[in-house]
């Protein structure tokens, strides 16, 4: 099992951390890597990760923390770390927690407005198993933007966990850009704990990786507004699985979810969106949409909404579409002189643009447009 033998060789840490690691490790040992018999992992087989022989190795991390946000040390993370991303059920979160060593812990003080994005980028080491850990604690009424990115070369395993705790009235935009190597395994969990009347959005852009699993989970309070959007593009034999959980724990909260996928070749994708509306979460307003553009006969998408609604005065809608390029649109473009390949690219790009347009960080939007342009150009030939 990946890196597990090394657990016992880790140098001892502060007692609280040592305790956390050992507890997490015990959970991991009990859970083991999930199999496809586990409903949560039904379409995603992680046997290749379990079999792989990677050595635990920390990735290169680059962190930009614009003031008045501050980066704090691991010692100060004790009250919050691993409080939100539960490792009792999720073996990968348990594994990550067992190897917690260097945490990117960022604090945004109460009421602070951080104009520039907080940027955290991980560059994996080849043949390594990495367990990047991020904790961002945002004070009440503060405002910030967070951009996480993951990349690397060759074959490796990234198992990331990010916890975001946003205080009452905070405004937080989070972006995760996954551009791992096409031979990499990438498993990541985002756990967002959102305060009263907090406005939170997270965009997950998934482009790389051979085997990818993203879990994006948000727990809402009263009046919280949460948006979870995603764009996944897969070709060849890439497998990308997006699981989301939006937990309406309190009344008057709203959630919006739009995940779009573009699948070509023999790519495999999974979208599973769970919405929980708890008993006293009256007046919940929730909308979930998953749209897939399937460009080849061999690409497969499994999409499933999971609504668990325990309150009676709520509005919850969900919808999923799976389609090919629209023949009418193709003809319209071609009838104006645009060549077939270019028309195809234009429509694919337009499908993705819908998500890209929602990104508020200009530099990120520009770089994504460039990446997509290159990708859709590939499609054209």
């Amino acid at each position: 099992m990946t890196g597990v033998a090394e657990f016992t060789q880790l140098p001892a840490a502060a007692p609280w951390l040592q305790h956390l690691r050992e507890t997490a490790y015990r959970h991991f040992s009990e859970l083991g890597f999930p199999t496809t018999r586990n409903e949560e992992w039904r379409f995603t087989n992680v046997a290749a990760i379990a079999r792989a022989n990677f050595v635990v190795g920390a990735p290169q991390v680059e962190v930009t923390v614009p003031s008045p946000a501050v980066r704090l040390g691991l010692g100060e993370a004790e009250p919050q770390l691993a409080r939100y991303a539960g490792f009792g059920q999720n073996a990968f979160v348990a594994l990550n927690t067992a190897f917690v060593n260097d945490v990117v812990f960022i604090h945004v003080p109460k009421g602070a407005v951080v104009e520039q994005p907080i940027e955290i980028s991980f560059e994996a080491l080849e043949n390594a198993a990495a367990h990047p850990r991020v904790l961002i604690v945002i004070g009440a009424n503060a405002q910030c933007t967070i951009v996480e990115s993951y990349r690397g070369k060759g074959s490796y395993f990234t198992n990331a966990v990010t916890e975001i705790v946003a205080g009452d009235g905070a405004v937080v935009d989070h972006y995760k850009v996954q551009q791992e190597s096409l031979s990499a395994f990438h498993v990541a969990t985002l756990q967002a704990q959102l305060g009263r009347s907090t406005n939170f959005s997270s965009h997950s852009i998934s482009l790389g990786g051979a085997l990818v699993r993203n879990d994006a989970n948000a727990v809402l309070s009263e009046g919280t507004e949460a948006t979870l959007n995603g764009l996944y593009i897969a070709n060849g034999t890439q497998h990308v699985d997006n699981h989301t959980v939006i937990d309406h724990a309190k009344p008057h909260a709203a959630s919006h979810e739009l995940y779009k996928g573009i699948l070509d070749g023999k790519a495999n994708a999974v979208f599973n969106g769970r919405i929980i509306v708890r008993k006293d979460a009256q007046k919940t307003d929730s909308k979930q949409t998953n749209k897939n553009l399937v460009l080849s006969d061999d690409a497969v998408i499994n999409t499933k909404p999971e609504l668990q609604i325990l309150a009676d005065d709520v509005r919850c809608t969900h919808g999923a579409t799976i389609g090919q390029l629209d023949a009418e649109s193709m003809f319209y473009l071609r009838s104006r002189g645009i060549a077939k390949d270019q028309a195809r690219s234009l429509l694919i790009f337009a499908f993705a643009q819908d998500i890209v347009d929602r990104i508020k960080v200009q530099s990120l939007r520009d770089s994504l447009e460039r990446v997509l342009f290159e990708k859709f150009h590939e499609h054209a030939h």
Binding site: D326, L333, R336, A339, K340, Q342, F349, A350, D354
Partner: protein, 261 residues
């Protein structure tokens, strides 16, 4: 070449699925001429328009179409457009995510490139389209909106004629450009079309109703029924149809028939 027809359709047959829709169309269009094609619903008017533009949904099973000396049926839709054919759609397609400006610039540059002209950058393009937008009374914000997305019926039809003004085709085919327009929008669209009439530009105007032809006065009128041209004449034929209906010349119009039940 003087005296050569721009478009020659000979014995054109076309099917969709198993059903034959065009059953032997013959039509010759010379440079600068405006031909109206009228006919009841289901007569094959729109099919003819789409076949000429290269819609793959329809299969040509017999006959010939010579355009500008070339076998038109051998060309892909984009090659037809590059050769100067323009179809104004009856139902312009909404394309979310592609701006009208990006779309039209790509189209114009594709046409220019095929004709050995230099491609235009965004600024040159804007300069070129400004007057044409005025012609169609179009707000510049329409350029930045996604193609036809959220446009009203009138805006969509105006956008079609605006595209035609930008692409400057040799043969424009207007497929029921009048449908769904109120009289003010109709006048605006007709005015745009009339401005684009020239001795080098031919037009085929497909319409169910004579109303449009009060504003776009054709040189010839053809009546299509059950996949064939059954009557041809001058502009007075349209007026005759207006008075007597398709029934007056012995045709059954599904729409009129339904109206009397």
């Amino acid at each position: 070449m003087n005296g050569m027809a721009l478009l020659e359709i000979k014995n054109l047959h076309a099917t969709v699925g198993e059903r034959e829709i065009l059953k032997g169309i013959d039509l010759t269009v010379n440079p600068g001429e405006v031909h109206a094609i009228m006919g009841p619903n289901g007569s094959g008017k729109s099919t003819l328009a789409q076949v000429l533009a290269g819609r793959e949904l329809y299969h040509v099973t017999d006959g010939q179409v010579i355009y500008d000396g070339e076998d038109l049926l051998e060309l892909d839709p984009e090659e037809r457009a590059q050769a100067g054919i323009f179809l104004a759609f009856q139902y312009p397609v909404e394309i979310p995510g592609v701006s009208n400006m990006y779309f039209l610039k790509a189209a114009l540059n594709a046409v220019r490139k095929s004709q050995g002209q230099e491609e235009l950058d965004a600024l040159d393009f804007l300069n070129l389209v400004r007057d044409k937008m005025k012609l169609m009374d179009m707000d510049q914000t329409l350029l930045n909106r996604p193609v036809n997305t959220g446009f009203s019926g009138g805006e969509k039809k105006r956008n079609e004629i605006f595209q035609m003004a930008v692409l400057e085709p040799k043969l424009a085919i207007l497929d029921e450009t009048d449908s769904g327009l109120d009289i003010d929008a109709l006048k605006l669209v007709a005015n745009g079309v009339n401005t684009l009439r020239s001795k080098d530009r031919s037009m085929i105007v497909v319409t169910h109703y004579q109303r449009l032809l009060n504003y776009i006065v054709p040189d010839f009128v053809h009546v299509l029924s059950e996949g064939r041209i059954v009557k041809s004449g001058g502009k007075e034929l349209a007026l005759q149809l207006e008075e007597s209906g398709y029934a007056g010349i012995g045709l059954v119009d599904e729409e009129e028939a339904v109206g009397t039940v």
